[in-house]
């Protein structure tokens, strides 16, 4: 634990919570022979091929239109950032190993095994330049879910020990300590107590039986601790029987982002087990995009059967509570634009929830041009924000987002994802930009009526 | 004489070969007047839909002159309503059409008396003149 921390101290001063740039990069992990890496990559590519991925990998027309949807390509015109090109190795493995004509591809050598050089090159394409935002999946005339495939391709990369240094360290720390930022249960408890005092709000902790299990992301705990208080206020106002748990509080899932299905499952199971233990009927996920994907849509599949409880993103919970009158908010006199977290809106299907909440707040809502499901990504999703060497590229890409936001001329910029928020904060600092991103949940918490 | 002027505006050039052929005839008339160059068109070399040939014939109409020839079957040589444009039809002894032509010329060659025939005719005439007595003269004088 300490070794991890020692080698990669947290950069607490930065506008995002991350590590200081490593003095020596280790973008190749472990000490496998080259051949073994290639084998691992191939094997873990192959494990992902099912009838669904197969149809996707077989269906590509090479029309190249996904390039026009990808912020990395749009901003750089670098053809390597064409989304489907990022999957070239994955495709190659599929055609050779599992496709209907795999025998011929192997027999005649039409598709070779991937090489270590290719894998190293593709590390940049599969990690630094893909936020798994899924915009490309919407433009594809064949309807191929490219983003979903990228997540799977990362499994091979991870197992071959070929992922970016910081992402590997972060994921490893998450696996070892339970939190990518090294938030131990004790530390979490400390922060919760601090917030309860600071904001004078009651925050139940480790209650044995509760209807609702609330969880947080490390980013919030570390950098936006007021989120803890905001969550508590809202749940209290709704009169929920709820609790935080020290045995299941971390919503982020770096196993998923980095491509380690084992770690992904571990993190997910922690939350599931905690919820089952207290007999929860609902897990309320924090303002975090990928947590939603990990638990709401992939959680049951990790569990191997339907979950015995519901899963909601906080925006969904708030929308529901406001729509049913469980909580009420005061009207807020300001103009607002909303940045959709890709995994919650575009890929998660909860696009409407945030809009319902905003409607209840009575603000002058200014939708971005092609906002909602076609929103430009913040550029930091999919773990990209952790990768230091990707900073210049990420900043370049952020320009699209800035234009989209500025065009609305709204007073305030809100979102519902701490990861988006830190990536905005970092880019804001970089560009010295006027807009400071706020949290939708915090706005609701601050304007609750009849607060308990 | 068979003189029948066509009603110009009423010529229906419905389809097929009639219109292009009329155009060709106009150009042939240009050549005849400007360069003194005659043209002959073999209608058998063109595919006509049923009724199209009749349509062409109607379009060209009948002119002032019509001649009949009786050599190896009947032939009709007729000037159309457009002077210089001649319609020729050759039949065999069974009366079947063996050739149909449009000639754009001042006089079709076949109307001219041919030197060979003139020579043969002269010989015949001289022969009967020499061999006949007063009966011939009497007959000729009738």
């Amino acid at each position: 634990m300490t070794t991890v921390d020692g080698r990669h101290p947290l950069d607490r001063e930065a506008e995002r919570l991350a590590y200081k740039p490593p003095e020596v990069r280790h973008d190749i992990q472990g000490d496998m022979e080259t051949e073994e890496r290639v084998e691992k990559a191939m094997h873990h590519f192959v494990k992902n091929f099912n009838s669904q991925t197969a149809s996707y990998l077989d269906g590509c027309l090479h029309c190249g239109m996904c390039a026009d949807a990808c912020h990395f390509h749009v901003r750089t015109d670098d053809p390597r950032y064409t989304p489907i090109w990022k999957l070239e190795l994955f495709k190659q493995a599929y055609k050779r190993e599992a496709g209907p004509f795999a025998l011929f591809y192997r027999l005649f050598g039409f598709k070779k095994k991937v090489t270590i050089d290719q894998l190293e090159e593709w590390q940049h394409l599969l990690y630094d330049s893909c936020t798994v935002c899924g915009r490309c999946s919407l433009v594809c005339p064949m309807g191929i879910d490219i983003a979903g495939l990228v997540s799977m391709a990362r499994h091979g990369m991870f197992m071959a020990g070929l992922i970016p240094h910081e992402l590997h360290e972060t994921a490893k720390r998450a696996a070892e300590t339970g939190s990518p930022l090294g938030i131990t249960p004790d530390k979490f408890e400390d922060r919760v107590e601090w917030m309860a005092d600071e904001h004078d709000v009651e925050i139940p902790m480790d209650v044995e039986q509760a209807d609702v299990l609330a969880v947080m992301s490390s980013i919030e705990i570390q950098k936006y601790p007021q989120s803890i208080a905001a969550t508590a206020r809202i749940l209290n106002a709704a009169g929920e029987s709820w609790t935080f748990r020290t045995d299941g509080f971390e919503a982020t899932n770096f196993g998923m982002l980095s491509g380690n299905p084992g770690w992904q499952k571990e993190a997910t199971m922690k939350l599931i087990n905690a919820a089952i233990k207290i007999g929860a009927k609902l897990i309320v996920l924090p303002e975090c995009g990928h947590a939603y994907m990990a638990l709401r849509w992939m959680g049951a599949n990790m569990y191997g059967k339907p979950l015995p409880f519901k899963v909601m993103h906080i925006s969904e919970y708030m929308a529901d509570a406001l729509n049913t009158g469980k909580i009420k908010v005061k009207k807020v006199d300001t103009s607002v634009t909303y940045h959709d977290p890709c995994q919650v809106s575009r890929r998660g299907g909860a696009t409407q929830a945030a809009r319902d909440v905003i409607r209840h707040l009575g603000v002058d809502f200014r939708e971005m041009e092609y906002g909602g499901d076609y929103n430009w990504c913040c550029g930091g999703g999919g773990g990209v924000v952790t990768i230091k060497r990707a900073d210049p590229l990420r900043h370049r890409v952020f320009k699209l987002k800035m234009d989209q936001v500025e065009k609305t001329d709204a007073d305030e910029l809100l979102s519902s994802c701490a990861n988006c928020r830190q990536s905005f904060d970092d880019s804001q600092e970089h560009f010295n930009w006027d807009y400071k991103m706020g949290s939708l949940m915090e706005m609701v918490a601050e304007n609750l009526e009849d607060e308990a | 004489m068979n003189s029948q002027k066509p009603v110009r505006s009423a010529i229906p050039y419905s389809r097929g070969n009639v219109k292009p052929l009329l155009n060709e005839i106009i150009h042939a008339l240009d050549r005849l007047l400007d360069d003194d160059e005659p043209t002959a068109i073999d209608l058998a070399s063109l595919p006509f839909a049923p009724g199209e040939l009749e349509e062409l014939e109607r379009a060209l109409g009948h002119g002032e002159l019509k001649a009949e020839l009786d050599a190896l079957g009947k032939s009709v040589i007729r000037e159309t309503a457009y002077p210089g444009v001649w319609w020729l039809e050759h039949r065999n002894t069974a009366g079947e059409i063996v050739g149909r032509y449009i000639e754009i010329t001042r006089t079709p060659e076949i109307l001219m008396s041919q030197d060979a025939d003139i020579g043969a005719g002269r010989a015949r005439l001289r022969d009967s003149f020499d061999n006949s007595g007063p009966e011939f003269n009497k007959e000729a004088g009738k």
Binding site: Q52, D58, D77, P79, W85, D145, G349 | -
Partner: protein, 217 residues
Amino acid sequence: MDLLDFARGPALQVAAYILVAGVLWRLVGIIMLKEKPEFSEPRKPGGFMAALKVIYTRSFTAAPFKRATLYPKMLAYVLHIGFFVVIFLFVPHIVFFEGFLGFDWPGLPNNLIYLSGVAAVVAGIALLVRRLTHPVLKLISNFDDYFSWFVTLLPIVTGLMMPVRMGVRYETLLAIHILSVAVLMIWLPFGKLGHTFLVFVTRGTTGMVFERRGAKT
């Protein structure tokens, strides 16, 4: 047996066998791979109707992508529609289909067919030029793309040559035309032209996966 008899008979016959076998080979080979289990609680029903919905909706470009993809999409539409018109609305082709389907449908006058064919070829050439010059397409294209382009355009071009002829005998051209169709039929299941049937699978899959999430499809 002359070339035309060969083309109309054995060539088409074998091509049809390969087409049918190849399409099923590829489809079954994909569908019979392991199933991805899905236990998450759906937001919306999804299912077959969702598949149908996306099969339909992905035929059109979503508004945000319209400007960026206008040119290739337009060409692709012209190519597809032109190809469709030529294949299914040219009377001799209808007669061909009637030969084994047993029913026919009205066709279009030939000049409209020629127009569609020429438009399809022009669009095809423009798409090839784009593929050869556009940095993205240059990078991602492979043999399949170029060969599939070739075998797709070949029947249209040979078909369009029939009225023009250019000194080649009609029956020879017809034989070449039919052979080019046979080549297309033989290649279709194996290369990217498989999108003719895979499009229903890929779009349908996405429809079912994302519609049940209530997400954008």
